[in-house]
Point group: C2
Chain length 343, copies 2
Amino acid sequence: MNAKISIRIAARVLPVTVMLIALAAPMALRAQEHPEDNLLPSWRNGQAKMAILSFVHQVTDKSSPKYVRPEERIAAFDDGGTLSTEWPIHVNQPQMVFARQRVKAMAKQHPDWKYQPPFRFILEDDNKKLDQCLKDPWNKLDLLRATYGAMTVEEFGSVVRGFLKTAKHPKFKVPFTEVAYQPMLELLDLLRAHDFKIYIVTNYGADFVRELSESVYGIPRDRVIGTTPEYEFKESPEGGYLARASNIDIFNQWAVKAENIQLHIGRRPILVAGNTDGDLAMMLLAAGGKQPFLNLLVRHDDAKREFAYEENTDKVLRAAQSRGWTVISMKGDFNTVFAFQKK
Amino acid sequence: MNAKISIRIAARVLPVTVMLIALAAPMALRAQEHPEDNLLPSWRNGQAKMAILSFVHQVTDKSSPKYVRPEERIAAFDDGGTLSTEWPIHVNQPQMVFARQRVKAMAKQHPDWKYQPPFRFILEDDNKKLDQCLKDPWNKLDLLRATYGAMTVEEFGSVVRGFLKTAKHPKFKVPFTEVAYQPMLELLDLLRAHDFKIYIVTNYGADFVRELSESVYGIPRDRVIGTTPEYEFKESPEGGYLARASNIDIFNQWAVKAENIQLHIGRRPILVAGNTDGDLAMMLLAAGGKQPFLNLLVRHDDAKREFAYEENTDKVLRAAQSRGWTVISMKGDFNTVFAFQKK
């Protein structure tokens, strides 16, 4: 088994090594094809791509002083804004679009919603007032509780699958299973090929993301760590089942993301990718370990192909700049942003 | 990738099929070798072994109406009393032996422990009074809080590894890494070979069990679901780290075991193995699903090779008997109990 893994690693590491030698010798490079294009084709050659390829090479090459054993190659990825588009949150974020659809579908059973924010603003399609209202996290929790809870986990999965089959991204007009960033999908593939264990660590609902994690990201359900309601085991004549209570038990953001990495994984990550202050604790956790690490901060600076915004990035951007972490510019580093935009 | 997996499954399922045909024709069986001996050699041929082999065959044979896709082959195993010996708990259970050692090592910094149960009874080696005292769960929590908390997760891991290297089981006089039941280790191997995803779901501390899960059971750290303290992310000059608080956040027993399966895995198990009422909710969860399932209840009825006891088994035994779940008799079904007992 171990021998097999070693052979696979060797076979896969080789192209990265070849590429690094090629990059280090630009004169030679011009005379040949660009071998690094095969590895992360949707990334432009630049510092971010170089940092990724160099790191992957160093931690997987057995002769490297930075070698990390496969079982310790833990990678933690935020979802919204890091793996997939989510801006503006109250309009385009998949779980917010889901919540809005649910409010409209459930409105008949809740006549009071006509008068009660934030439900009222959703029923009236008043994005401006909704945005203002949801700045208060308690209003946001009200919305999530009303639309995500009080059913079995199987029922919830089925409702989400129905949503993912029919709903379209309001701006890009494609299903939410197609709004992942193409360069990040390639990065996931590269890491998988080098025996990284990849986890999604998101403030989105875990059970929501689990319905697309396998098909979109190739990440199994048990590697999705997210916000969760209280689960309640209930007996039935057949045996038992799990219900989603209406309260949120774990809100997976900021320090909680780092704490949940211990709860779910039990190892420090050596690679963390995020895009807001909510991901800073995970990055600090990687930085505080004894292993080599790579922190990737995605910046949304591409108003043409995606969106340009800087909300909730003050702290993480300062940390990235002062500590020399890798900042990814969507505008500068992504050749392609979405697969559907390819000509 | 999928084609490869299918070939591997086919190759591995074949012996199970051959064996089942052989068992169904006892006359023919006598004339040849016992092919089932190669699969679970430490199990005696009987109902439990037959139920296991039949189930594994049915859910992995693509032509079977009970076929279950590999990603849904979730198996949840209790640890103490199911995978390894733990009786009597306050004397021989590994995490209790650990707690007792820690009390003695830390006694100098806690002069009050000389007067304060349960610490006092540990320092006086009074097992009888300790046993009585720990029947009150609050006293047990006091003990676990004092000996398992208030350090970083790395420090805790290092203390546990030191314990596992030096401590011996009080009765069997072997390290705690050698007190797993040999037939259960073979069952884990069989399930792994048939692409089951195996999780430990234990009331023991998750971080304690993680220090032996990979080497003893071949189960990676992130598939250990157990009792956990509150984790606290703290910043440091290098970045950050996680501390174990002194309070227990999740006590993983009874309904919580089923609820934590949703939190960590997000799928119903199709195979559950346990030995007490604490495992009943997990078994009911498996029984309540739409997939075929196998619930295994280990009974401790072998005073000669292990221990004979029935504590906390009323409900689960009644459920197993009325619902026809598979009961494993250590005396009747285990050829060998521990590898170290082999001649």
